[in-house]
Symmetry: C2
Subunit: 305 residues, 2 copies
């Protein structure tokens, strides 16, 4: 089954302790779709300018990603510049130029509308809602958000996530959204806002899945070196949703398959770990299913007792 | 088999977001021995002043801890005062009064010397070495250290840990000791300094075990509320070493039993998690084997996939 992915496609300039790249393909939609493409067909909804390179479109298409919903309009593609501190604990945004993304108003191709899986990248809650309303037979809506929407567009955000099955946030965002510093209580409060399934990302320290009254904690993969963390959270989302779509897991009826959700968290973590090993989405040029399976087994091995 | 524990016994004054206690029983030896006492007989080596309360001695003796090596000398017991920031990310030492601990020169009762398991709490490397030299038939030496010894007594520390089987440090200390920010590489470097088995503590984020070429990552227990983190690392050591002593695991000959080491890490994590739920070592007044087994199962349950 296919996964519809909505979010940004951007050009990123990234500086880490390991070097610097200019105008590398980025954006939440890009990372989610690339990671998901190893599990299922991803169909993207995003907007780019007339500077969008055919080689970048080719990278996406080469992974079988459906670009029918990738709108091209006159102007420049969203661009973003970021610098990470040496130990990666701090991230400074140097520039955010929305360009054509400022007027993004996602319209889903008709062929997308009957897909059962939807992952909403971190965009305006209103737009996330409008996308969901265009879908006809959803089985699983997942979405991401950020501090800006939580603080300054709270009502809008609450009205949006009310209808979601799955929310992905980091620990800071979870605490902010719930108004509680205890992650355990925060998770309960967020579940009562709508999404029965919640993953709280903790960067290098892994992630926690809450689903119904169950929870599952996975440590981060112990990379020898984090090259560039850009996109790791979105790759998690892509691996997680991609695996669920591949397996046809549903949350809208019947018993929740908790073991499948746990495996999805591991696949999400696997994809996030690969993402950090190279700049931008570079890892996806050479990554194989064998690499993914092997790292999944390594997760099993280092956490088994 | 018994575990000989060497370290400090102290009176702590602790302030966290949840309240304040004055002169509560503390010190590395106290926490290690109390946690270990749920698995094996702990025999302690430490020094206290004439202000040491009989009720505190009774708490230790009540857990079957051998106090023969607890020296009582004229003067005051080591005391320490600490304040934690609201989110527990920062710890400010308000006072350190060594008192009788300043002249601590551990002498092991003869009955201790043929025990096979030794855990050296965080004290002067020279003293740790002298204690080890007094043991006659060691099978497993474990020890702890801290930034002060790593930075200012490096040569001494290196000469000491060279003979250890097991080193317990936190992530900051591991990076400092190895001079490498990558925990994976740092672990390898530390293993080459002596201890083939190494646990790197990561506070609320759990711990990593490196043993030979294997590694094992365990997330921290997701407490609803951390009441007071004082002693958690030492309780980890006590649970870890206590379980290994109980099981008679050896590192000095034959194949390493990696599964037993992993279970020991879980028991260490379990004891650390209980420690954080009350002030000081209060939890040990009421903790039962059933509580420990139940939390061990919870670890299994939330990390199984």
């Amino acid at each position: 089954m296919s996964l519809v992915v909505v979010g940004s496609v951007a050009y990123d300039s990234i500086e880490t302790a390991h070097g610097k790249v200019d105008r590398i393909l980025g954006g939440s939609c890009t990372y989610i779709a690339l990671a998901a493409s190893f599990f299922t067909r991803a169909r993207i909804v995003a907007v780019v300018g007339d500077d969008f390179a055919s080689t970048d479109a080719a990278l996406l298409a080469g992974r079988g990603i459906d670009l029918q919903g990738l709108e091209r309009v006159p102007g420049k593609t969203f661009s973003w510049a970021v610098r990470y501190s040496a130990d990666l604990s701090e991230r400074t945004t140097l520039a955010t130029d929305l360009h054509v993304f400022a007027n993004f108003n996602p319209k889903l191709p008709d062929s997308y509308r009957s897909e059962p899986y939807l992952q909403l990248g971190n965009i305006q809650p209103k737009l996330q809602r409008s996308v969901r309303a265009q879908m006809r037979s959803l089985r699983f809506t997942g979405g991401d958000t950020m501090n800006y929407w939580i603080q300054d567009h709270r009502e809008d955000l609450l009205a949006t996530i009310r209808d979601w099955d799955f929310l992905l946030v980091n620990d800071v965002e979870a605490r902010m959204l719930a108004g509680d510093h205890s992650l355990r209580r925060a998770a309960e409060k967020i579940q009562s806002m709508g999404p029965r399934t919640l993953v709280i990302k903790r960067g290098e320290h892994g992630a926690i899945l809450f689903s119904g009254r169950q929870y599952f904690v996975v440590p981060g993969f112990l990379l020898e070196e984090v090259f560039d963390p850009t996109g790791a959270g979105d790759c998690f989302a892509g691996g997680f949703m991609g695996y669920l779509a591949q397996q046809g897991v549903r949350l809208d009826q019947g018993e929740i398959d908790h073991q499948a959700l746990r495996r999805a968290v591991i696949y999400g973590s696997v994809m996030a770990s690969f993402c950090c090993e190279k700049f931008g989405p570079e890892c996806f040029r050479t990554l194989t299913h064998e690499d993914i399976d092997s790292r999944y087994r390594e997760f099993k091995n280092f956490s088994n007792f």
